[in-house]
């Protein structure tokens, strides 16, 4: 069969140009955090897109994305759009899917980036500022 691959969890530690990516199949949870500007984003996000696709096909349980992504280059933005499109299609079929995107309230650019994605999604997509107390004076 073509679906011979085992659906393992994904655990990619972040670097300065690659976000940390953790996909927990049992929990139905995908976490991504950090900057993303690899030269070839397809190499990085291809397996993540496949994981989401497979999870949504094989399971009926909810899928939640917990994001703390910062700067994304345009090829990473394309990959994220592909992921959100999969979630949107699942939502349209009645599947429970949701996104939480956390950002540092000092950086409006990250909020704007998240909002532009959220504009094209009708499933629950929360954009939440995190308080940065230690910088307050």
């Amino acid at each position: 069969m073509s679906r011979a691959i085992e659906m393992n969890d994904i655990n990619i530690p972040g670097t300065q140009s690659i976000p940390s990516i953790r996909a927990d199949y049992a929990a139905g949870l995908l976490r991504m955090a950090g900057d993303s500007y690899p030269e070839n984003s397809f190499e990085l996000f291809g397996p993540v897109i496949e994981w989401v696709e497979h999870y949504l096909e094989a399971e009926t349980r909810p899928l939640h994305l917990d994001l703390a992504l910062l700067y994304l280059n345009t090829s990473s933005i394309r990959a994220m759009m592909d992921i959100f499109d999969l979630l949107q299609a699942a939502h349209d079929n009645g599947r429970p899917v949701s996104v939480l995107w956390r950002y540092d309230r000092r950086n409006e650019r990250v909020r704007e980036l998240a909002e532009e994605f959220a504009e094209d999604c009708s499933f629950p997509f929360e954009i939440s500022p995190t308080a940065i107390d230690h910088e307050r004076s």
């Binding site: 300065q16 984003s41 910062l70 280059n73 345009t74 090829s75 394309r78 000092r106 650019r109 094209d120």
Partner: protein, 180 residues
């Protein structure tokens, strides 16, 4: 061998408030290293996080565009070089410039494209950006080509400026400048 005139290079850079410049073959890791230096300078200058992210993002898109172009054209190392300058203007805005060798026709097309983008306001750029994002990608193409220029135009606080200087060797030197 004549030693390079470092003093006039230094004076040239200082007079133009150049904080960072690079000229030569550019690799994936060099883009990251120069990017790190840029981020550190911006932080030391206490630039707002949002503006710092715009300067950094423009730098990344420009240099990655250059790398993708050289790969697509099968350029050798010497032709796959980039000239990158990041400076501040007299009003304190950041000036991000990058240039590379391109085919003459590509240079002309790029300048035309930049002129089209420069005529658009932020709302029109956003609409164009969303359309481009939804456009089907060429198979096997890893880059966000096309989207990058619109992204740069959206992050810039003034219309982009571009030139393509035709050279006797049959190529053009394309250069693009964005203000933040």
């Amino acid at each position: 061998m004549q030693s390079p005139d470092l003093n006039s290079l230094r004076e040239f850079c200082n007079a133009r408030r150049i904080m960072l410049c690079f000229n030569g073959p550019i690799s994936r890791s060099l883009i990251e290293e120069i990017g790190n230096a840029l981020r550190n300078y911006l932080e030391a200058d206490r630039v707002q996080p949002g503006a710092a992210m715009d300067v950094f993002g423009i730098y990344i898109e420009m240099t990655q565009n250059i790398r993708h172009y050289a790969t697509r054209m099968n350029y050798g190392e010497a032709e796959a070089a980039a000239t990158v300058v990041i400076a501040r203007d007299e009003t304190g805005r950041h000036v991000v410039s990058a240039g590379n060798l391109v085919e003459v026709d590509d240079g002309r097309a790029l300048v035309t494209r930049i002129e089209q983008l420069a005529a658009l306001d932020k709302a029109a750029l956003k609409q164009l950006y969303k359309e481009q994002l939804r456009r089907p990608r060429d198979t096997g193409q890893s880059s966000g080509a096309g989207l990058g220029l619109i992204d740069i135009a959206r992050k810039a606080s003034a219309p982009l400026a571009a030139t393509a200087l035709e050279r006797p060797d049959g190529r053009s030197f394309f250069s693009l400048t964005a203000l933040v």
